[in-house]
Symmetry: C2
């Protein structure tokens, strides 16, 4: 029997609650599809700061190294907001993990779920057309990691600076993954840049165009980031794969997530070239509802499904989870934030159970 070793980084806020449900669901499919899962939990984020002083302790990093994949919950909360940037839960854990494991490919699907159109902040007639897009965001380059960066000078003249940069090689590898993904979807890539201003974007556009020649069956459109932020509101349904650098992908994937109106349903994957990956919900740690047992575990459960699919090669098990989640939603199993105002939803655990029951 294959045995998979998973590093569980539940983190803060609702992280631990929704993680428990994801583990429950994965344990159930593991029994069904006859593979084993070894869960190894490590501290991360605010919880790690409180216990050890650092958001990403050594032990956590080596636990991740020993694992076949990382299942990440969420980190951060008001308690740690006053800390200097590098020591903060989110920045201090996510960025080093991405960098260390070279998780350059971030997949952020965003769907308006059929039946849940009413939750989208978009106008009814626009939301009715639906949205089903995948943001493919480069995650280890761009202005997030470019050097030099820092401060220089004194007084009025003192300035802060950062370097945006991408190499042809970095652009190529993420572009290829976007075109591959588009082939399995609706065959369209929309590449987002600011090539009317940025040198980095000009190279980006050039290189993406070159790669596109290898995918004649995929349609390529280039769009400026400012225009993309607009068009997503007007013609959300027309986008398929949106290929973005790290910074623009950060902005657009969040805008797209908000458009779905159901952030609690959105998983994400961050992969490296070897297929190793980190999987986490798109939403945050939601400290306002933490500890009440009412958070939606679906994003965490679907993140686990992405993990089975992309890092563990347990495709049938991943399909089973996805189908069970769809069925549960179709059957009207919803947590509080998705139910019509005033109507009580399922608890976190009940939602997990509802999905297990449909496996």
């Amino acid at each position: 029997m294959t045995q998979h070793r998973i590093a569980v980084l539940a983190g803060d806020g609702i992280g631990p609650e929704v993680m428990a449900e994801a583990q429950k669901v994965v344990d159930a499919v593991a029994a069904q599809f006859e593979f084993g899962i070894d869960w190894h939990s490590y501290l991360v984020g605010g919880a790690a700061i409180d216990a050890t002083g650092a958001p990403l302790p050594e032990a956590t990093m080596s636990g991740c190294e020993a694992a076949d994949a990382i299942l990440f919950g969420s980190v951060g909360g008001p308690k740690w907001e006053g800390l200097p940037p590098n020591s903060q839960p989110e920045r201090g854990s996510l960025l080093p993990l991405r960098k260390h494991f070279e998780l350059f490919c971030n997949l952020r699907p965003a769907q308006i779920h059929p039946g849940l159109e009413g939750l989208s902040p978009l106008r009814a007639d626009i939301a009715a057309k639906g949205m089903d897009l995948l943001v493919v965001r480069e995650l280890t380059g761009d202005i997030y990691f470019g050097e030099p960066r820092g401060r220089h000078g004194e007084g009025e003249q003192e300035y802060g600076y950062d370097t945006m940069r991408y190499s042809r090689g970095e652009i190529r590898r993420i572009a290829r993954l976007a075109f591959e993904a588009a082939r399995k979807r609706r065959g369209k890539v929309c590449s987002v840049d600011k090539a009317n201003v940025l040198q980095t974007s000009m190279l980006w556009r050039e290189e993406v165009t070159t790669i596109a020649a290898d995918y004649p069956d995929v349609e390529l459109e280039h769009i400026y980031i400012d225009n993309a932020a607009m068009q997503m509101l007007r013609r959300a349904s027309e986008f398929d794969v949106m290929l973005c650098g790290n910074l623009f992908g950060d902005i657009l994937s969040d805008e797209a997530a908000m458009i779905t109106g159901s952030m609690g349903l959105l998983p994400s994957a961050s992969l490296n070239a070897a297929g190793f990956g980190m999987y986490e919900p798109a939403g945050g740690s939601a400290p306002d509802i933490a500890g009440q047992g009412i958070a939606n575990p679906v994003a965490q459960i679907l993140s686990a499904s992405l993990m089975l699919r992309h890092s563990l090669n347990e495709i049938a098990a991943a399909d089973a989870i996805d189908a069970a989640v769809s069925q549960a939603l179709a059957d009207g199993c919803l947590t509080n934030e998705l139910t019509p105002a005033g109507q009580a939803g399922l608890s976190t655990a009940a939602m997990g159970d509802a999905i297990v029951a449909r496996l």
Copy 2:
């Protein structure tokens, strides 16, 4: 009688059509409020490329230097899209004008106009709450102009790079204008950055916080750009002044403009420290409807009003234009893109006349 000299850069697409209406309206208020306007027209954008080979000819630049303000139409179109970035109509005219005249302060108001809520792409209940925000965008710094920028290396390793940077002095002067603007509005500034990742943003946040101490009557909130792109969809009505650097302001002001659903109504101003400014509609050159006499001239007319207010000190005349525009809209005078589907709107000229009639 005061005589004002205006450089008119009508540009491409619908630019010349809507500019004619703005001039008509300004001539009418000038007669009423007894000041004189000397219009001097210059080539810009694609029209200038066709005539002279350059998007911003010498003669245009010196015409602008001799003027008290610049009234700008819009530039660009499919015809010039294949040109190298620096020679393209938009980039090749807007960026050098902003830089040359040090137009560091870009004001981009975005309102859901009462009665036109149905045009917003937001859900009816969200749009019903309205939106009335002002994006204050820094316009001469940031990654738009930071050095070094360029390309380096060869093959796979070749990379493109750009430098984001802001000095304390640059942050201060734009922040002060945002707080001043907030005082005359609803007393709230929301400063947008990515201080959890960028050094430039950390300095930005520090400096904005310092300036805020001089404005105890103004409420300050800091928000990350990714979160701002989301929150604008969920609680558009709650924002007042949004203070942004050049890049984030580009993205957010366009998102806000799209949220209004009536881009044809939105003016903008770009000012320098001496009060000299360039005034232009938020929308583009709309080549698809150019030459048909159906474009909405309101954004251009309101841009002229901003010019009277901020550069020419003709406050009463500006107030008169604003009131006439509001009245015309309230009376149901609308151009095609704002009327319910299937219903014909006023022509560009008729809309201009409707506003003149209400002065």
